[in-house]
């Protein structure tokens, strides 16, 4: 477990964690670092193919719809909403971690529940976006959108879009499932018995990482 940081502590002389965190938290950090490389590899592959292509579809033309707005041309609006939902759920997650440190079980339950709701809302948005794109003819191996210069686009654009947002969506899904499990444990009183809410912190790290990846996906697919 972590101890108070004193000046000139000999971190590597044994007897305590040289990283001043528990084993589980350190391993969560290393897992997230490896996951960062997985997402990094996917996004860099996307970047490489995009740099190699003479022309590429315009995201503002591809992503211009909003649920219930029919054919109104609204680029960026829906994805901004999705981004807002995910940032917001990250905030409720930190608040849950904070409440856990204060040993305030009621507050942990409240903020975890909001986080799960936010994650579910994000997934619902993504499901709508995928359905909408699928209906307009886009899927793996199918790309109905033209390049910016008016030429026929390859399927690289849709392949990368569905693979990367799909992989991210899978992370969000497992994050929601993990959050539900942890919330069930909080309700059962597991962490009250254990004397600390560190599991909330660990699952919180994972949840923030999912938000972090979305920041990059948002930039790479919708802004650039």
């Amino acid at each position: 477990m972590d101890t108070a940081v004193t000046a000139k502590k000999k971190w590597w002389s044994g007897g305590h964690s040289p990283f001043n965190v528990s084993y589980g938290k350190l391993m969560m950090w290393y897992f997230l670092m490896s996951d960062a490389f997985t997402f990094g590899a996917l996004l860099i592959a996307y970047g490489t193919i995009r740099f190699m292509s003479p022309s590429w579809p315009d995201p503002n033309v591809v992503f211009h719809s909003f649920p219930g707005m029919g054919h109104a041309d609204l680029p960026l609006v829906f994805v901004s909403l999705m981004t807002f939902i995910l940032i917001m759920s990250s905030v409720t997650m930190v608040l849950a971690v904070h409440a856990g440190k204060m040993r305030d079980r009621q507050a942990v339950v409240k903020w975890m529940a909001w986080t799960i709701l936010g994650g579910a809302a994000f997934l619902a948005c993504q499901a709508w976006e995928w359905t909408h794109l699928h209906e307009s003819g886009a899927w793996w191996g199918r790309n109905p959108f033209l390049n910016v210069d008016g030429t026929q686009a390859s399927t690289n654009f849709t392949n990368f879009f569905f693979t990367i947002t799909g992989f991210h969506g899978l992370h969000v899904t497992s994050g929601v499932v993990l959050n539900i499990i942890i919330l069930a444990n909080v309700l059962k009183g597991t962490y009250e018995e254990r004397g600390h809410y560190e599991m909330v912190e660990k699952v919180g790290l994972y949840w923030h990482f999912v938000d972090l990846v979305w920041v990059f996906v948002f930039t790479c697919f919708y802004l650039l």
Binding site: M33, I49, F51, M52, L76, V91, W114, L212, T219
Partner: protein, 134 residues
């Protein structure tokens, strides 16, 4: 979700410094995102700056957002130096990773340009070939 936020702000009981810094981080992230989307809209309407400069701004702002999420939400800034370094130093590989691969993509494009027969006929032949396959 707007409702969530106002609800959250009112239900706050513990107004200590930690909760304050959480909300401060939230407003910074939101402001940067709104600014990015605003710039993208301005560019769509008025085309007021070079595309490469705009992309540079987007990438920088993304890194700023990433910094705030990792440093504040994931609390890395408040951990000891050993932990910060064991996470950040391996990520330096990304410097090589990004430069090498994007440069490769770019050179690939240049080679395709240089080696292609160099006529507008090229795409047309391509389509005929594909049609022959079906």
């Amino acid at each position: 979700m707007e409702h969530t936020h106002t609800g959250a702000a009112h239900e706050e009981h513990a107004h200590d410094s930690s909760t304050k810094s959480i909300w401060k981080t939230f407003w910074i992230l939101l402001a940067i995102t709104v600014f990015e989307v605003g710039l993208a809209f301005l560019y769509l309407e008025y085309d007021f700056m070079a595309r490469w400069a705009l992309n540079g701004i987007f990438v920088c702002l993304t890194l700023v957002k990433a910094f705030f999420i990792v440093a504040e939400f994931m609390h890395l800034r408040h951990e000891i130096r050993n932990l910060i370094m064991t996470i950040l130093i391996p990520l330096l590989l990304f410097v090589w990773f990004i430069i090498a691969f994007l440069a490769d993509g770019d050179s690939w494009k240049n080679m395709r340009k240089d080696l292609s027969p160099g006529t507008p006929v090229a795409p047309a032949t391509h389509i005929t070939n594909e049609a022959a396959h079906h």
